[in-house]
Symmetry: C2
Subunit: 411 residues, 2 copies
C-alpha cells in the first residue's frame, strides 16, 4: 500500500503525493484555509463569493477562456467554499500535470476578479441560499449547527443574506489578499505521478506564491437545547448532535467504532431498530463529524408528523443505550466494516487526495492505513465498554423541522 | 486496459468479470430485470416492496442474522428497485468472494419473505413516497416522466400510494416467483478476481437458480406538452425532456458529444450562459438519459420565481441553438472531456461493475474503452453539424414546479 510523502515548500505550501503507478490519472485536492469561520464580521459569505469570483478570469484570460483552457486539458474539477476551508479539486490524465498546475497558478496568483462579473457571482450565491429552503434536511442541520456553536463555526458556509448583500468588489479584493496564500494551504495529489515530478512542477508554477494564514477562532459551544422549526413540509426532519472526541485523541478510534456499531451497516443498531423493525423512516443514520478542535456525533431521521415522537424517542434511546456497552460480535463486525471501508477508499485516487488533504489540515500529518488498522485492532470489548460507560452519549442538541404544530407538544 | 469477459451459465444467468489484478477489493453489481415497468397492474411498487422484503431473512437466518452475516464479511452493500430493474450492489475484499456469493444465493433462492415483516416494509416504502414531497427537483422529474410516457415507463419507481396499499404478502410472493430468476439477470464483477475463479464460485452457489425473464412492454410516448405544478416552495424547478437517439444507434456518440458541448464542463454552454453570465441559477445541467428502447436528453434548472421565465427561455434557446452547429474547438473540448471521464471511470471497480451490467442490459454486450474511443474519434465537425441540423432538439416536454401563481402566464 502506497504511503503519501509530504514536503513543505519554501513559501509554506505543503505538498503531499501518494503514488499509484498503475493509475493513468491523477486526483488533486488543494485545500485553502479560507472558509466561513474566517469570513470578516458582517461579510458572511465572503469565502463563498471569492470562490465563485475566482473563475471569472485569470492570467490574462476571461472567464470563458479560462474554463475552456481547463476543458481543453480534460480536467474534471469541482470547487467549494466550506465552513473551514475552500477546496479546489481536479482529476486529469497524469501527462497533463504541469499544464494543469500552471492554470491553477494563474487562478491563485493572477486572478482577474473583474468588477463586471461580481453581480452575477452574488446572484448565484443568493440562488444557492434560496435553494436551501427547498432542502429540509440540509436546512435543519444548518439551523442546528448554528444553535450548537456560539463561535463562527455555526455559520452557514453559503453565507448570510445580509453578508452577501453587503459585499463589494473592494472589500472582497482586500479579503482575497488577506486570506488566499501559500502558507497554511495544502496540495494533495494521488495517482500516476511521483513526488519528485510533482515537486518540480509545483515549484515551477506555484513556487513564488506568497501570503496566507489567518487566525482561526477557537470553537465555542452553547448549552445543549432543543430547536423547533416550523416548515411547510410533508416530513419531519429530526437532527441530534452529541459531543464526541476529536481526531488525535487516544480514544478516537474507540468512539469511531461505537459510531460504526450504531450506523455502520445494515445490521447496525439504528438501521435495524428505527427502520427495519419499526418502519419509522426511510432514512436514518449517525455519523462522526466536526470542525478542527471540536468533534461531534450527529444523527438524522426523517419521518411523517404522526411518527415523529416515536422516531425521536427510539433514535435517542438507541444512541444513549451505547453506554450499556456493545457485544463482542458487534465490535468485531464494526472492525471488519471499518477496515473494509478503509481498504476500498485506498483504491480511489479521488478519495485518497481528499483524505490526505484533510489529515494534513486536522492533524498536520497523514495517517497510514497500517497506523489506522493497528489503532482499530487495539480496541477490545473491555476497552470500548469502559470508554462508553465513562463517556456516555447523552443530552444532545436537538432540532425538529417540519409542520411542528401537527406534532405533539412533548417533542 | 482490462476488458470484461462474459459467459452465460446453463441457467441463463450472465456473468461478466473485469479483472483488476492490483485491486484487493471486488465490486459486484447484480442486475435483475425486476422494475416498476413490469410491476403488475394495480400493484405499482411491487418491485420496490420485494427488494425491501428480500432482506428480512434468508437461508434459515432472520433479518438481523442475515444483515450481520453480510457485516461479518465486511460487505458494503446497497440495493434498489428502479424503473426497469433491481440492482444489488456490493463491495468486499477479494478473498471473501465465495462466502459473499453464498449469502446472495440464500437471498435469491431461499428468501424467507416473512409475513410478520411485511407491514414494516410497506411503511418504509410509504415513508419513501412521502419524502418525495420534500425533494422538489425529484418530484418535478417524476411528474415529467409520467407525462412523457404513456407506457409503464412513466411510473414512479417507488410505486404509487394505491399500489403500496393494495399489496399483500400472497400477491408479492407470486410476483417474486414470476419475476426473480436467473434468466435475464446479469452478475458483473470488477476487481481482484479472475473469470475462472468467479465462474466456479457462481456455479457452486447460484448454479441451480432457475426461472426469471418476463416480457417488458415497449415504451410509448405522448405528444410533447407542458405541465405546471403548484408547490409551496422557494424555488421554481424547471425540467425539459427532448427525444434523442439510443445507445446502439450509429449516431449515438455524435449526440453524446452534443450533450457534452451543452453541459460537459464549466466552459460548456449551459453553465456559461445560464449560470456564469446571467447568474440565473445555482444549478443547471443537461444529461443523456432514457430507458431501453427510448432515449432522451433531459435538462434541469432551479431558480427563483421572478427569474423563472428568463431561465426557461435561455435554457431552451441554448439547447435548441445546437441545431446551428458547434465549433471545431467546442467539439475538440467535448471529446477530451468525454475521454477523460471514461478513463477515470475505468479506475473505479464500483463504476466499472455498474457500467458492465448496464451495457449488458441495454446492448447485450460490453463496450470496450477502445471501441468507445474510436467511435468518439470518428465524429468530426462536419458530421456532428450535419447531424444536429437534421435532428434538431426542439419541442420538448416541459415541467414547471413551484409557486406557479407567482410566475407570469407566458410560461
Amino acid at each position: 500500500m502506497a504511503l503519501a510523502r509530504t514536503v513543505t515548500l519554501s513559501n509554506g505550501l505543503i505538498l503531499a503525493v501518494e503514488e499509484q503507478p498503475w493509475n493513468p490519472g491523477v486526483a488533486m485536492q488543494l485545500l485553502l484555509p479560507v472558509g466561513a469561520v474566517t469570513d470578516p464580521e458582517g461579510l458572511e459569505g465572503a469565502a463563498n463569493l471569492l470562490e465563485g469570483w475566482l473563475w471569472k478570469g485569470a492570467g490574462g484570460r476571461d472567464a470563458r477562456a479560462l474554463a475552456e483552457a481547463f476543458d481543453d486539458l480534460g480536467v474534471r474539477r469541482g470547487s467549494a467554499a466550506g465552513l473551514e476551508y475552500t477546496t479546489l479539486g481536479a482529476s486529469f490524465l497524469a501527462g497533463q500535470l504541469e499544464k494543469v498546475l500552471a492554470l491553477y497558478a494563474d487562478v491563485l496568483m493572477r486572478p482577474a476578479l473583474p468588477e463586471d462579473a461580481f453581480e452575477t457571482v452574488r446572484q448565484v450565491a443568493l440562488q444557492e441560499l434560496a435553494s436551501l429552503e427547498d432542502q429540509p434536511p440540509k436546512k435543519m442541520f444548518t439551523a442546528l449547527r448554528r444553535a450548537v456553536f456560539e463561535s463562527p463555526h455555526g455559520r452557514n458556509p453559503s453565507g448570510s443574506l445580509e453578508g452577501l448583500q453587503a459585499a463589494t468588489p473592494e472589500a472582497l479584493r482586500a479579503d482575497f489578499a488577506r486570506r488566499y496564500g501559500a502558507r497554511g494551504s495544502i496540495l494533495a495529489l494521488a495517482g500516476g505521478v511521483s513526488l519528485e515530478r510533482a515537486q518540480a512542477a509545483v515549484e515551477a508554477t506555484l513556487g513564488l506564491w506568497q501570503g496566507g494564514e489567518v487566525t482561526v477562532p477557537a470553537p465555542v459551544v452553547s448549552q445543549p437545547h432543543t430547536l423547533r422549526l416550523e416548515q411547510h413540509s410533508a416530513q419531519v426532519q429530526i437532527g441530534l448532535i452529541y459531543p464526541d472526541v476529536s481526531i488525535g485523541h487516544p480514544e478516537f478510534y474507540t468512539a469511531r467504532l461505537a459510531a460504526q456499531v450504531l450506523s455502520g451497516g445494515m445490521g447496525a443498531r439504528l438501521f435495524v431498530e428505527v427502520r427495519e423493525k419499526r418502519g419509522l423512516v426511510y432514512s436514518v443514520y449517525a455519523s462522526p463529524n466536526g470542525v478542527k478542535g471540536y468533534s461531534y456525533l450527529s444523527a438524522y431521521a426523517g419521518t411523517t408528523p404522526e411518527r415523529a415522537e416515536e422516531t425521536l424517542r427510539v433514535l435517542r434511546a438507541e444512541i444513549e443505550r451505547l453506554a450499556q456497552g456493545v457485544s463482542a460480535e458487534e465490535l468485531e463486525r464494526a472492525k471488519v466494516g471499518l477496515r473494509t471501508m478503509l481498504v476500498m477508499q485506498e483504491e480511489s485516487a479521488r478519495s485518497r487526495a481528499v483524505s490526505i488533504a484533510r489529515d494534513l489540515y486536522l492533524l498536520g500529518r497523514v495517517r497510514s492505513l497500517e497506523e489506522i488498522e493497528a489503532a482499530i485492532a487495539a480496541v477490545d470489548p473491555e476497552r470500548i465498554n469502559r470508554y462508553l460507560a465513562k463517556n456516555p452519549y447523552r443530552d444532545p442538541w436537538t432540532a425538529i423541522l417540519g409542520p411542528v404544530d401537527q406534532i405533539v407538544a412533548s417533542l
